[in-house]
């Protein structure tokens, strides 16, 4: 959902460089993170765009045709634009909320995206392995956010559990990822019948999770689940497996508001609890010692900027109410989209109440 064209990860990498340089070991370094790891962007947004464009193009032709020929197509157009899809806020819907709807609602779009992500993953791994010098080894971690957590989960689940054309080189029986970082995990979000692959029983689990009935091996060494306390998307149907052992890591205390978009990728990464886990696991397990982390977390302001108390209070109570929403049926897509719009409105209201609040949401400044 949203706009994530090729190159979308630059802002994420910049943020990781910035937060890494905050720690003693990396102070003053410009590319503290990106100079130490190799980053491969996975991009599937153009696929959603093409399906959306196909629809829009067809609808435009239909609308023009109807106008030119004095044929009443009002109901048809209404059906195609609004009737089978959630009501109103068409801009918000078409630009941001359509992707998850496509993902959950259309197996064709979902499989198209999944197939693309699987190929990008396999190519990325193979290319990096080819560039290693003698004596070097490669550990591969995957980091994903929001809809990306679901997309990546499904792509890994397919890649890990099914040989493709008889080839099992990247199945979980032959290969293992190091870390799977999920930021604002929404892999359960949506009506349960439309959750294509059950994330509780897929191979995308840490090695400390109980064995699967299918006898398939776990696909990653560790599984991180970062969930903000006021992020409704991550709270509506939170991913909370039980008994997955010490390598399923859910750090607590992520409740900061430095941007009205508490669901934002970079907003999550800004928190030391989130970024220290990533840095330590990807760069050096001893890069940020416990004492430094405690000190950093203690000094990290929960609300920034601090001078918007009333706005914070109102906005957070709206976010909390959204987090606690009881849906008429589990994962009702119509209600998720309506509440998504409500989240947008609450964020906008926050900025209207106090212009000092930071917003990474285009259109809300």
């Amino acid at each position: 959902m949203g706009v994530n064209p090729p190159g979308w990860s630059h802002s994420i990498v910049d943020k990781l460089d910035e937060v890494t340089a905050r720690y003693d070991k990396f102070t003053g370094e410009d590319k503290a993170f990106s100079s130490r790891v190799r980053i491969e962007e996975i991009c599937y947004d153009p696929i959603f765009d093409k399906y959306i464009l196909q629809w829009a193009k067809t609808l435009e032709e239909l609308r023009a045709f109807a106008t030119n020929n004095a044929i009443d197509l009002g109901r048809t157009l209404t059906l195609l634009t609004d009737g089978t899809l959630p009501q109103d806020r068409s801009n918000v819907f078409w630009t941001t909320l359509i992707d998850p709807l496509f993902w959950r609602g259309s197996p064709i779009v979902r499989d198209d995206v999944t197939a693309t992500v699987m190929a990008q993953l396999a190519r990325g791994i193979s290319q990096h392995l080819d560039t290693l010098a003698d004596g070097e080894t490669l550990d591969v971690s995957v980091m994903s956010h929001s809809l990306g957590t679901t997309v990546m989960h499904d792509a890994l689940a397919h890649l890990g559990s099914e040989p493709f054309e008889g080839n099992e080189s990247l199945t979980s029986a032959k290969y293992q990822f190091d870390n799977f970082f999920t930021v604002a995990n929404v892999s359960l979000l949506g009506p349960p019948p439309l959750v294509h692959i059950d994330p509780f029983t897929s191979v995308v689990r840490p090695k400390t999770a109980p064995p699967l009935a299918s006898k398939l091996d776990p696909y990653c060494t560790r599984f991180y689940n970062f969930r903000h306390e006021f992020d409704p998307f991550a709270q509506w149907q939170p991913f909370k497996p039980t008994g997955w052992g010490k390598n399923f890591i859910v750090p607590g205390g992520i409740n900061h508001v430095h941007d009205v978009n508490v669901h934002g990728y970079t907003h999550y990464l800004d928190h030391p609890i989130v970024n220290s886990a990533i840095i330590n696991r990807l760069i050096d397990l001893q890069a940020i010692p416990d004492a430094e982390l405690k000190r950093t977390v203690a000094a990290y302001p929960r609300l920034a900027p601090p001078a918007c108390n009333t706005a914070y209070t109102n906005m957070l109570s709206a976010f909390k109410a959204l987090c606690d929403t009881n849906f008429s049926s589990p994962g009702n897509l119509d209600e998720i989209i309506a509440n998504g719009v409500a989240f947008y409105k609450a964020a906008k209201q926050g900025v209207d109440d106090c212009h000092g609040l930071v917003s990474s949401i285009p259109g809300i400044v």
Partner: protein, 369 residues
């Protein structure tokens, strides 16, 4: 316009390479980290390595094994790695457990050498010698920590250096060997996955467009396509499109009608690469100045759609059936005479120009603007 407020972003892959990952002073590393982190091992000085371990670091061993690798002598390569470990004389339970895994390495790599299908289909278990670093409660490196596998091996600061090195250095070399043995299979997998992506690209770019209802129907049709593949059969249902109908009583009096074509039901079949399709639909046409028509529509890939529509008699008792064409096809066909006329005009102009030309260069086709 709100575009990224909730930013359901795509995922991205971070590959962390041990070698070169961190330029920390060696002195700051604990004993076990100095002997088990690949990048640290690579930076050890000759003095730190010592005479007994000279030339035995993973990078050096792997370089020496290059000829065997190039010749595909994977069995001999495994023997060589195992021999290096045996030379270190690690005994006890750790030695026994490690030796068992080395036996598996020999079996695995021996099969890579002998069995082409095994090699090309990724039969090698590349996880076997993954070294996992943990620091809670103490710094250590763990091997063979797999589901249902109790015989793990741990190396700590307290582990004697010869054992640390024998375990970690051999494990790193073995891991590199396993990954290398799986190279060709992995690239074959990449090729196969990318061919599938190409089929999806073709389907999306060259296939017959789908409305929401059709997306749902075709997605639910499990016999229309193999798992994760684009449809081989596509159901057309309640598909609306503008079209042109050439309607009249006879071929000579046919007039253009702008119609809305509704295909209540149809079926399309794609070729294997999804670059081309053909199919048939029932069709109804609606126009503002003619009775509703009904007929059959044929789909022929990128060429377009064409069909025949029957109409009931109008108020004058005349029946004006029609030939139905998609907009693309109509534009193409109706554009042919003009294009021909334009080409003919250009040719005549060129002939006249050349007839009066004194030199070959003066007789040239007019440049495109």
């Amino acid at each position: 316009m709100w575009t990224t407020a909730t930013a359901w972003s795509a995922a991205f892959l971070v590959s962390c390479e041990l070698a070169g990952a961190l330029a920390a002073p060696l002195a700051a590393q604990g004993n076990v980290r100095r002997d088990c982190l690949a990048d640290t091992i690579a930076r050890l000085s000759e003095g730190e390595i010592g005479a007994a371990w000279a030339g035995r670091r993973p990078g050096e061993v792997w370089s020496r094994l290059a000829p065997l690798r190039r010749q595909g002598r994977w069995g001999a390569l495994a023997d060589s790695i195992a021999a290096q470990f045996e030379q270190a004389g690690v005994t006890g339970e750790i030695g026994r457990r490690f030796a068992i895994e080395l036996d598996s390495l020999r079996i695995d790599l021996g099969r890579v050498e002998r069995d082409r299908d095994y090699r090309l289909n990724g039969g090698v278990d590349t996880r076997r010698f993954n070294l996992s670093e943990e620091n809670d409660p103490v710094e250590r490196f763990i091997l063979f920590d797999r589901a249902g596998h109790a015989d793990t091996v741990e190396v700590r600061d307290a582990t004697p250096q010869p054992i640390r090195r024998a375990i970690c250095w051999t494990a790193i070399t073995a891991r590199i060997a396993l990954v290398a043995a799986a190279d060709s299979a992995r690239w074959r997998l990449v090729d196969a996955l990318e061919r599938r992506v190409k089929r999806w690209d073709n389907f999306r770019d060259k296939g017959y467009s789908m409305f929401p209802l059709e997306l749902v129907l075709n997605g639910a049709c499990t016999i229309c396509r193999p798992p994760l593949e684009p449809p081989r059969w596509q159901v057309v249902a309640l598909h609306l499109s503008p079209a042109i109908e050439l309607a009249g009583q006879t071929w000579n009096d046919r007039a253009r009608l702008d119609v809305l074509a509704l295909e209540p039901l149809g079926l399309i079949r794609y070729n294997a690469d999804r670059t081309w399709y053909a199919g048939v639909s029932a069709v109804a046409t609606f126009a503002s100045n003619a009775p509703t028509g009904a007929g059959v529509l044929a789909h022929v890939g990128q060429v377009g759609t064409a069909g025949y529509v029957f109409r009931r008699r109008d108020a004058n008792g005349k029946r004006r059936d029609g030939v139905l064409l998609s907009l693309d096809l109509y534009r193409f066909i109706s554009g042919l005479p003009a294009a021909f006329k334009q080409d003919r005009g250009a040719a005549v102009q060129l002939l006249e120009q050349c007839a009066g030309a004194m030199t070959k260069s003066a007789c040239a086709a007019p440049a495109n603007p």
